[in-house]
Amino acid sequence: MTRRLHPLALATLSLCAAIATMPAQAQKSTAEGIAEYRKMLEDGNPAELFEAKGEELWKTARGPKKATLLTCDLGQGPGVVKGVFVTMPRYFADTNKVQDVESRLVSCMSTIQGFNADELVKTPFGRGEMANITAMATYIAGQSRGMRMALPQGHAEERRFYDLGKAAFFFRGGPMDFSCAACHAEDGKRIRLQDLPNLTKNPGDGIGFAAWPAYRVSNGQMWSMQLRLNDCYRQQRFPYPEFGSDLTVALGVYMGVNAQGAESIAPSIKR
């Protein structure tokens, strides 16, 4: 993964330096300052560039079969993009799998455009076709902006994946004994100054699952939900989660169903 320094990242660094020198009493206003800073950045969220790129990729004939993705079914029928994001992950009959937006894109790119699915999932984040999948996921998320999370739980597989996701969420392991729950099962907790959403319930509009994909100012990268989970596991000191694995999709079902009714603000902007 490449980590280039974006001009906005420099601004963040200097903000961090300013925070570090503030006295303890200024803590509340520091948090307020960060909120204000985020608000300021929303006016020009670079995620829009990725949305535009994703839309173009979606509509362009590509791959060995030189086809567009306009026949790709994201759950509401071929080519329907509006409103699908807040209903994923969901069960798809053609693959007989519960899929999130990214693993579904891999299926469509493989069957419709002729890309090799194994190669796609092995491509590192930010590179080649993986960067394209992230851009398309960003575009698809943007087409549900302001809508409320409404993951279907009608199919037995969708309900089973919720239970599996919950088990994975509480699974403790690694050299530091962490689980997702170690940081995300209580209200009002922080790591350093970073607020941690409680993901065992609805954490509120535009928080947690309803905020990703997001543009990350600190490293100038567009982060999909798969990359968000990937970096959580890195910080949990776990081994490397496979892209689009049942594990990551099940976690998405667990968080998405818990967030049912929350407004999706994706693609958002993050520190």
């Binding site: 503030m22 994975a168 403790r172 392991g173 004994d177 907790k189 081994p239 490397y240 989660p241 496979e242």
Partner: protein, 216 residues
């Protein structure tokens, strides 16, 4: 085929669907087995982070649900953890609080982007979750505040026998936090070889030395 036959067929199909819907609901034990298989299949080695990291020991397994483990199991985990504590060589508990502060600030180590599992590559992660020194406002809140840790516990001289109980408890907590709470969120710094004895002594000094800013 008469209308009656069709109706019977349709209701039979509906009944089958209903039964299938109920029968398909897996039990919690089945979910646990399936989840374990899914987790094992979901990870691969990357750098120093190998898949053996998801092999759970007794305590990790006991603390992997939204419910607390049964009391007897929790006690077993705590007893095992207590027995695992290695007390410091030569009874030397306290190092340099300045080094301790550096370690407390350092949140590095043990991820797949780190190059070594050597204790020298690791920080003590403290500020991620705890308030400690008065100068650091960027602290986490997953753990309790440790500001004035030694002072609040009446430690005026770390070598005074009156302080021995709290000094030893603190070492034990850092070495294996699960000795005192089976499902503590705190890493087992000594037991899991995250920090060596010298590093632990420095963190001990940060918390307990009356000259440490934590206790001023």
């Amino acid at each position: 085929m008469t209308i009656r036959h069709i109706l019977i067929g349709a209701s039979a199909a509906a009944a089958l669907l209903l039964v299938a819907g109920c029968a398909n609901k897996p039990s919690q034990a089945e979910i646990d087995t399936q989840a374990l298989a899914m987790i094992k299949a979901g990870f691969r080695d990357q750098g120093i982070a190998k898949i053996d990291r998801i092999e759970q020991d007794l305590g990790q397994k006991a603390c992997s649900s939204d419910k607390d483990p049964p009391e007897a199991l929790a006690k077993q985990v705590e007893a095992q953890a207590l027995a695992s504590i290695k007390w410091p060589t030569g009874g030397q508990y306290i190092g340099d609080w300045r080094e301790g502060e550096k370690l407390a600030q350092n949140g590095r180590g043990m991820t797949w982007t780190d190059s070594s599992t050597d204790t020298k590559a690791n920080g003590a992660q403290c500020y991620n979750c705890h308030q400690i020194g008065p100068a650091e406002v960027s602290f986490g809140t997953i753990g309790p505040s440790l500001y004035n840790y030694g002072k609040l516990r009446g430690v005026k001289d770390v070598t005074d026998p009156a302080s021995a109980v709290i000094v030893q408890y603190t070492w034990g907590k850092l070495w294996n936090s699960k000795a005192y709470a089976a499902c503590s969120n705190m890493p087992r710094f000594g037991h899991a070889k995250l920090l060596d004895e010298t590093q632990l002594r420095h963190v001990m000094a940060l918390l307990l030395d009356p000259k440490s800013p934590v206790n001023e």
